[in-house]
């Protein structure tokens, strides 16, 4: 078995399980929430789901895009991104993904959380921006 086959067969398989574990934890944590107003609890939900879907998207990209003839280092660098919509766009170049607008909006929300809000409280401007995770939007959020 070639190293790349081993990588895709086993290591990406493990990564698939890791992604599923994060997604499960996110869904369960959301189920356990009694109110939607506590930033610390929402943070956990969003973090689990964001990490889980990012890793899952990367597994799919790796399986679809990787070729033995490619520059491995370059390919691995291309996976260093937190943009879920970008990863989804790469997948859609190869396969039809049966997701509706709501699902895409949800992935956008996770991307926004992970890129802009996750470390937001370490900045001074967080003093003026309450309830970041609660909406991931300036005033209110509709679902």
């Amino acid at each position: 078995m070639k190293p790349t086959e081993f990588w895709k067969n086993f290591k990406l398989g493990e990564e698939l399980s890791v992604s599923g574990t994060f997604i499960y934890n996110g869904v369960r944590r959301f189920y356990e929430l009694r109110e939607l107003d506590h930033e610390d609890e929402l943070f956990e939900v969003l973090y689990d789901l964001a990490v889980g879907f990012e890793r899952l998207l990367k597994v799919v990209v790796a399986l679809l895009e990787h070729k033995d003839s490619d520059d491995q280092e370059e390919f691995e660098k291309s996976l260093i991104t937190h943009s879920r919509p970008e990863l989804l766009r790469r997948i859609k170049q190869h396969r039809t993904v049966e997701l509706g607008p709501q699902h895409n909006d949800f992935l956008d929300l996770l991307a926004r959380f992970y890129k802009q809000i996750r470390y937001g409280r370490f900045g001074l401007d967080s003093v003026y921006d309450h309830h970041r995770e609660r909406g991931c939007a300036p005033s209110s959020q509709s679902i």
């Binding site: 698939l16 599923g20 997604i23 939607l36 789901l49 879907f53 399986l63 997701l99 209110s140």
Partner: protein, 370 residues
């Protein structure tokens, strides 16, 4: 969902209710399953096993299961903290018999003879204090026939009654009639519509329905609305014609039934010529007909009568025969659990499957029979 969270919910906060939970779960599961299907397909093309998941893992639950958190929590509660059995000392000692039979006919005959003997040797015990629990209707009804034959032969004062009305809809003809009645009352009832659309096909027309469902998720329309648009030619969705044809047939049948009176409706839904398949539900419906005026009232009475039939009291002259789940909460002097076959009963808990917990009580004796 058209739910807007207020920017400042002070002082009451925003409750997380089941609508939110189901919505987030459905969204997450749809994304996960869509991406996982690509993993599975691509791994197959590459002759890899990347998609294989450890049995019982969280990932397996996400990609191949449903992440039904309430059901999982119930299961874990039962597994981790099984209910402690406490003796009811005021009831005195009871007898427990565990008996094995070879063919099921032996079991039926032996249990019939045993119950007859028990009631003869306990003349003060009413027949209603004998409870026979068996999940398979075939065995339950067999015991009922044997008991009633014995009662006739020996001129006993009791009789046996079985309560398997929940099986009244197990035959396709009965289920079809009930689904049509449900749609007649509520045209937007999705389970009834889905059943009728898939009826008669091993694959339940899963493929075309998945296309319609995907369209519904994007537009927010109901499956019925989409099917009506398709049938009218106002919408085009590829590979959905078999469902549209079936939907048109269902509509025609419902239109024919709409003007019928309640008795004619029962005759049309559960015809006499339907034989044993519809006999039970027809019998239950016929008892309701004199007291109702509309299809809606008929359905309102029929549904609880099938799901929760009224049981006779313990002081009555009828031996009760029913499924274990139906018996939950009941108490009897003699409880017989029949049909204990490995893998059939008891059903041991598997991940994501609820375990049966027996909440009936026996005061005198319990017999387990296999």
């Amino acid at each position: 969902m058209n739910i807007t969270f207020p920017a400042d919910p002070f002082p009451f906060g925003t409750d997380n209710d089941d609508r939110h939970r189901k919505f987030i779960r459905r969204i997450a599961m749809k994304i996960a399953s869509s991406l996982f299907s690509i993993v599975r397909d691509r791994a197959g093309e590459l002759n890899l096993h990347t998609y294989e998941l450890r049995s019982g893992s969280k990932a397996e639950t996400v990609f191949l299961g449903e992440v039904d958190i309430p059901a999982e929590d119930t299961l874990w509660k039962e597994l981790l903290a099984p209910k402690q059995l406490l003796p009811f000392t005021q009831n005195g000692n009871g007898d427990v018999f565990i008996v094995q039979h070879r063919p099921v006919e032996d079991e039926i005959r032996t249990l019939g003879a045993y119950i007859d003997w028990y009631l003869q040797t306990h003349p003060g015990v009413p027949a209603g204090e004998v409870l026979v629990l068996v999940n398979r209707r075939l065995i339950g009804n067999g015991i009922r026939e044997v008991l009633n034959d014995l009662a006739t032969q020996h001129n006993r004062a009791w009789k046996a009654e079985s309560f398997y009305f929940e099986d009244a809809l197990s035959a396709p003809a009965a289920a079809e009639g009930f689904a049509l009645l449900t749609l007649l009352v509520n045209p937007e009832d999705r389970p009834a519509l889905r059943y009728l659309l898939g009826e008669g096909r091993a694959d339940c027309r899963r493929g075309p329905y998945a296309r319609i469902r995907a369209h519904c998720e994007q537009t927010g329309e109901s499956p019925r609305e989409v099917l009506q648009l398709l049938a009218a030619g106002a919408l085009q969705l590829r590979y959905t014609q078999p469902l549209v044809t079936r939907f048109t047939q269902i509509k025609q049948r419902l239109a024919a039934m709409a003007p019928l009176g309640v008795q004619q409706l029962v005759d049309a839904l559960f015809p006499v010529g339907g034989g044993a398949d519809v006999a039970t539900v027809r019998q239950v419906a016929s008892l309701i007909v004199p007291n109702v005026q509309t299809a809606s009232e008929l359905l309102g009475e029929l549904r609880p009568d099938i799901v929760q039939p009224e049981l006779p009291g313990t002081q009555g002259r009828s031996i009760w025969i029913m499924s274990l789940h139906k018996s939950k909460g009941l108490t009897a002097r003699l409880v017989i659990i029949a049909g204990c076959v490995s893998t059939s009963f008891p059903q041991y808990a598997r991940p994501h499957r609820r375990k049966f917990s027996g909440n009936w009580r026996s005061r005198d004796g319990c017999s387990m029979s296999a």
